[in-house]
């Protein structure tokens, strides 16, 4: 039996196919302006006996395809435990929201914190700033790590930070220095959210932003913890949903 988890995020749709408790196939597509079509493509490409949807757009599939849904918070809890069996804290920087989730011994969600409407400190912020500095998202973190100075951004608001970046550029500050400041600003925000719930080892950094080496390094420094990152951290939610689908329990 195969089970599929689909995580419909604001930027990407992720699919994880599971067989006998193991992830056997992963796919990712841009959410685009027609997420339903993208989901249907994924459902066709990864045929499964059971499906559960999660993520910001989960209700799309509930309405159009009668597919069960769980929140990404629950899905991340399960997925992170599948990657790291001793995970107790999850940090996820998503496209439009950032979450910190605490798990109990059994791996169930115990507490969580999530940003509200503001895009500050989210993946979208990172994306906008990378573009402003002429970096691709893939190289953004690595370039930031080559910085030497300690420049601080005073604002985390996407709009204000953007103009601050413009004025730093105008002052002739090297772009990798500004890149570092942007990463630091995001981590300050995430760390203050993480400190609202008791941090317990292991701390897992999940979601697509976990590929960014600078965010990972700064997070470890800021929380004074070792940070675990899976090989496919962006699949955490999809994998969790698939595992719930496989056991048909939500």
């Amino acid at each position: 039996m195969k089970a599929l988890g689909i995580d419909i995020g604001s930027r990407y749709i992720k699919g994880a196919l599971v067989e006998k408790g193991k992830g056997v196939d992963f796919k990712r597509a841009e959410t685009s302006f027609n997420p339903l079509e993208k989901c249907n493509e994924m459902l066709n490409e990864m045929p499964a006996d059971r499906v559960i949807a999660t993520g910001y757009g989960r209700h799309l599939l509930e309405v159009h395809a009668d597919i069960k849904t769980i929140t990404e918070i629950k899905a991340f809890a399960r997925g992170a435990r599948a990657f790291f069996s001793n995970c107790h804290t999850i940090i996820d920087i998503g496209g439009q929201d950032t979450k910190v989730i605490a798990l109990n011994e059994q791996g169930n969600v115990w507490k969580f914190e999530m940003n509200d409407r503001c895009a500050a400190g989210t993946g979208k912020f990172l994306e906008i700033m990378a573009k402003n500095l002429g970096y691709s998202l893939d190289e953004f973190g690595a370039k930031a790590l080559t910085a030497h100075q300690d420049i601080q951004l005073s604002s985390m608001c996407t709009v204000f930070a953007e103009s601050e970046v413009v004025s730093l550029t105008a002052k002739g500050v090297a772009r990798e220095e500004i890149a570092m400041a942007i990463h630091r600003a995001i981590i300050n925000r995430v760390a203050s959210m993480a400190k609202r719930i008791p941090l317990q080892a292991e701390v897992v950094f999940a979601g697509g932003c976990a590929h960014n080496p600078c965010l990972k390094t700064l997070l470890a420094q800021s929380l004074k913890r070792n940070i675990q990152v899976a090989s496919v951290p962006e699949m955490t939610g999809a994998l969790g949903a698939a595992l719930f689908a496989e056991e048909d329990g939500i």
Binding site: T71, V109, M114
Partner: protein, 422 residues
């Protein structure tokens, strides 16, 4: 609905804006309320009231005014309605639950003001609230800094604001102050209505308001049943309507609704299946038409079983002791009764913690969602103590306003909370 255009024009409403507001309200009501399944028949009356919220009721109040009765508008459950009714006045809770006229309001007050204050300013400034136009007296109160200062500006705009000083503590000196405020309010109402408050009419006012409170208490008690016989949305609506409907008719219709609900409970009929997750909401008031949080929670399959709120339990929990034999004694008892209200403007306010715990138990709630309007500092601050007091009972705090832009995130948070509660 009949054509009320002439009446609205005479009241000085902005007809174009007002038509827009009614269209949005009616569409929202259809989507949120009329789409609910298994509603009690008794809700038809309240549906009717909403459909005529700016129509028939305004006409009634206008007619009352023409017959010489005075209209008193309020924003707070601290204003003693008994006194208004004793003087044969009409008491109306004013419009403050929708995001309207923000641009207008922001000419006078800062952007980061709570949605409720912004709304009552906005409703008036955009010419959208027929009730405020009908008032002879608008009663403000010193419950929070935002309201206190906004009333000064509101006085400049309307010229008929009267402010009651609500103490911040509940010691003997505060009690004296509040008692004198109740007496001053009685004298003010006598002056504008040109009627004397007598023992007889004060008793009548007391009995009317207590009747309303008893009906609301009865409704609240029935929500303890599992399955619950009425949705949280519908119960919230009844509580919201209690602030501007005719008190005699409201009491009658609410009791009628309760009779039906008692029948439902006997037959095991509910709006959700037995064992559905039950949520208590605690915190800032939800003025009509603020149905945002209830619709998110109930849209996620849970049921709201109570509101620890001014539009809810705080409004009707305590009855006035009607056993008084002079006007002075009545006012004294009234002052005592109102000072029992556990508004977050008081320090300390430990009674509220006890009340939340007891409501959670009585209504068999599985979890508590603490609701604070953004920038409503007193409730935002108390959330911390509430969480501590509730111990192991699942708890989540939520801060939001009337806008719809954060509904996606709120829905995720509510659903994740419900998954934890399960």
């Amino acid at each position: 609905m009949a054509d009320y255009t002439e009446m609205w024009r005479n009241l000085g409403l902005n007809l174009e804006n007002h038509a827009g507001l009614l269209a949005v309200l009616s569409e929202g009501y259809k989507n949120i309320y009329l789409s609910q399944k298994g509603r009690p028949k008794g809700m038809e009356y309240f549906d009717f009231v909403i459909s005529e919220v700016h129509g028939l009721r305004i006409k009634e109040v206008s007619d009352a005014k023409r017959a010489g009765r005075k209209v008193v508008g309020t924003f707070c459950v601290y204003v003693p309605e008994e006194i208004v009714l004793a003087a044969d006045g009409v008491c109306i809770g004013l419009c403050a639950g929708a995001e309207v006229g923000s641009d207008e309001a922001e000419k006078f007050i800062p952007r980061n003001t709570c949605a409720l204050i912004k709304a009552f300013m906005g409703f008036k400034l955009a010419g959208l609230c027929p009730y405020v136009e009908l008032t002879d007296l608008i009663v403000g109160e010193t419950t929070c800094d935002g309201k206190k200062k906004a009333y000064e500006i509101f006085q400049n705009i309307t010229g008929r604001v009267y402010v009651m000083e609500i103490p911040n503590m509940k010691n003997e000196e505060s009690k004296k102050l509040w008692h004198s405020e109740v007496v001053r309010f009685k004298e003010t109402v006598e002056a504008i209505t040109k009627k004397t408050i007598t023992l007889e009419n004060l008793k009548k006012g007391a009995s009317l308001v207590n009747g309303k409170r008893r009906a609301l208490q009865r409704l609240s008690g029935l929500r303890a049943a599992d399955p619950t016989p009425i949705s949280g949305l519908d119960a919230l609506l009844v509580n919201q309507v209690s602030f501007y409907d005719d008190p005699v008719r409201f009491t009658q219709m609410t009791n009628k609704l309760c009779e039906e609900l008692e029948g439902r409970i006997k037959q095991g009929i509910g709006v959700s299946s037995r064992g559905a997750r039950r949520v208590l909401i605690s915190g800032s008031p939800m003025a009509i038409p603020n149905w945002k949080l209830h619709s998110i929670i109930e849209g996620s399959g849970a049921v709201v079983v109570g509101e620890e709120s001014c539009v809810g339990e705080r409004n009707f929990r305590d009855l006035l002791d009607e056993n008084f034999s002079t006007v002075d004694e009545g006012l004294k008892k009234m002052a005592d009764r109102y000072l029992e209200i556990d508004c977050a403007c008081f320090t300390p306010n430990d009674e509220r913690l006890e009340n939340i715990k007891s409501m959670t138990k009585k209504l068999r709630a599985d979890g508590v969602i603490h609701y604070a309007l953004q920038f409503c500092t007193p409730y935002m601050m108390e959330a911390y103590k509430v969480e501590k007091a509730l111990g192991k009972i699942p708890f989540m705090r939520m801060e939001t306003d009337y806008s719809m832009e954060d509904v996606g995130q709120l829905k995720t948070r509510v659903e994740a909370f419900l998954e934890m509660v399960k």
